[in-house]
Subunit: 412 residues, 2 copies
């Protein structure tokens, strides 16, 4: 019965080896937020494409002013989107609005607050004005051909704006992974139903859906699949169209736990089925058949106990989603925090125990510590819902004292 | 011309005074992620609703074992979702799967790995077994009537799961704010078009859409509105159906800047129109008429220069979105970082200058510092797209040395 009992580290390694960035596709900018760009994008023209006013004011010839003062003749009014029809001669000025092209002959813009208009004349009075003031020269931001966003960069809001301004409404990006979620089990009813005897409401799928969305991936939630070979085969087969398939329930050693056999029948290669950890030991991981250009689906069979499912997601699924999206993985080690109270751990498996982050003054003010919460175990989602994550107690019996330092698997 | 020139702090205060949590609505769980719960939710039944197996194994009477060893008769097989039909008598055991109800008479579950089945008999051998082992008692997680998620708590994945298990598929929550984005300006073309002379592509709306989504709100992007009173009136009027209306362009002092007048005509009360900052001085803020039960739309007219729009969003819109969603505001002060290189600031307005977070060794290893980037000003989105945020240089001329400390307005 000790087959496949990998350590968490070995199991993580086995998952990450099989997760690589998804093949790039073109997505509209509004769907490419936080995606990784998969091509270099160059400017298709100079920006600005013309010398341009940075302020509302008057475009003029600097030489026409004396210490910033002069009275000029208004020859034209220029708005953003309009084109100058006149070149400025000595003594001329054009009213100009932010973003409008500078007329030929002008070399300076004086902001409107430093001017006074009087019919077709304008009195300019701005001792601080400098030649070239308030003009953004053509190509000053970028030149045609300059690479403006590089392959491998994350599409932040401002980079999306750069792609828009370069005329790339559908850049090539690594897409967010699509994650099918299939809840299984005869004991489950949906959250809007009243459970009969021996039944409980399906909470796992809701938790996973939100965890997947929070990891930047796209959750695709299926209805509950009964413990029936035909129904399971259809539900899991559909799930293999996605980049990742998360199944809850049906993976422990029970005779009705049909999931692993059904997956194998669908061509899923089993990588491991159990991991040495608590809660969440019966965790299945495999890889589906290749999907044309796309790699095989990463298939995770998570235990039906809700807390086990959450811990399995955080340890194995979340890092895999990062890699599928082309992001560098999170550091594998857990950050360490001091415990704020005594805790006794017993057992031969490393244990992830719900804990809250709290202020701890045991070593002076301002330290963050972990408070392990009283929990009824792997079915106690309520306690997990009051936790910030899970404190890791390594295998072996030990009485921990306040201040002893342990790793922390963050829910956030 | 100095009307309404508030400081950033005064303007922020004026915005935040007018932003309060939106009226709660019922949302399905899949749309309520990260929303604030607006009601206390209680358990509608005990959980678990019955004594339940935490492992696959055999349910039995502890008294039938001697030092954890015994041979028992298998009287039934129990799966999750099935109901026991037999009470256990002395010498009886039932095969039981994780999640299944414990049969009457049984008080202990021995995990399957510590048993060996032989026809209708099972040999149990688990010296570590304790009475009550591997059973989660009815109501151990929660009792009917217990408050399980409280009003004011954020709906994290595990809390969403608790609502599902309590039969609340549509909880009352503060919804994510809906944010209409209306780009204006005759000079704009969409990002899939080739700009004509004097034109540029619309990048502001794309940047704002992503900033809004990143702040957890729902962006609703309009097509470009021309500088025409009728078109503007229609576009802005539609935008007033949303919780927030963001307009880009059309708010400086130019004669064609029709936005403030159009807004006033639609019943928007002007709160301020300019703020003492660079870039982004011409920033309009007002409040629309009440919308039935809902408060008036918060209306922000952001300048058309892209970097000005970004700074205006970070300073004024993002904190307002937090309050509308019922979240506590971010702290108003900016975190301080040392500059990694010399920088000269000149001018009478506090200036937000694009800067990158970099490692700085000027005071020993491991310090984070700010590197101000060479920027062509408020129209230079490219430089902003390479920045992590904006270093704040207060009003007044000053030559900064490496190590001098300034505030940082984070893009993330």
């Amino acid at each position: 019965m000790k087959v496949d009992l990998l350590t968490v580290e070995e199991a993580t390694q086995a998952v990450l080896e099989r997760a690589c960035a998804l093949p790039p596709i073109r997505l509209p900018l509004s769907m490419a937020r936080e995606c990784l760009l998969a091509e270099d994008v160059s400017a298709d023209g100079d920006s600005p494409p013309f010398d341009k006013a940075l302020m509302d004011g008057f475009a003029l010839r600097f030489a026409d002013l004396r210490n910033g003062v002069g009275t000029l003749r208004i020859v034209e009014e220029l708005y953003a989107g309009s084109l100058p029809s006149r070149s400025l001669m000595g003594g001329d000025a054009s009213l100009i609005m932010t973003g409008a092209p500078i007329p030929e002959g002008a070399d300076t813009v004086v902001m409107i607050e430093r001017t006074r208009r009087d019919g077709d004349r304008v009195l300019v009075e701005d001792p601080s004005v400098r030649p070239g003031g308030n003009i953004l020269r053509r190509g000053r931001e970028m030149r045609a051909g300059d690479v403006i966003v590089r392959r491998g960069e994350t599409l932040t809001p401002t980079r999306l704006g750069m792609l828009a301004s370069a005329g790339r409404p559908s850049p090539l990006v690594v897409p967010a992974p699509r994650v099918a979620i299939v809840p299984t089990g005869d004991e489950l009813v949906e959250s809007n139903q009243v459970p009969g005897p021996g039944q409980i409401r399906n909470s796992n799928a809701v938790v996973l859906e939100a965890l997947v969305a929070g990891a930047g991936a796209i959750p695709l939630l299926s209805p509950i699949a009964r413990d029936d070979p035909e129904i399971l085969r259809e539900a899991l087969g559909e799930g293999l169209a996605s980049d990742v398939l998360l199944i809850t329930g049906g993976v422990s050693a029970g005779q009705r736990d049909l999931v692993p056999a059904t997956l194998m029948g669908l061509g899923v290669e089993r990588v491991f089925h159990k991991v040495r950890l608590k809660p969440g030991k019966p965790l299945f991981f495999g890889v589906g058949p290749r999907r044309g250009e796309k790699p095989g689906t990463l298939v995770f069979g998570l235990p039906g106990n809700p807390v086990s499912g959450v811990v399995g997601f955080l340890l194995f699924v979340r890092p895999a989603l990062d890699l599928l999206a082309g992001r560098a993985g999170r550091p594998l080690g857990l950050p360490l925090y001091p415990l704020t109270r005594a805790f006794v751990h017993a057992g031969e498996k490393p244990t992830y125990h719900p804990a809250r982050r709290v202020e701890w003054t045991g070593r002076g003010p301002g330290t963050v510590g972990l408070e392990p919460l009283a929990s009824a175990g792997s079915a106690d989602l309520l306690t997990a819902s009051r936790a910030d994550g899970f404190a890791l107690f390594p295998a072996g019996d030990r009485a921990y004292a306040p201040g002893d330092v342990v790793g922390f698997l963050d829910l956030g």
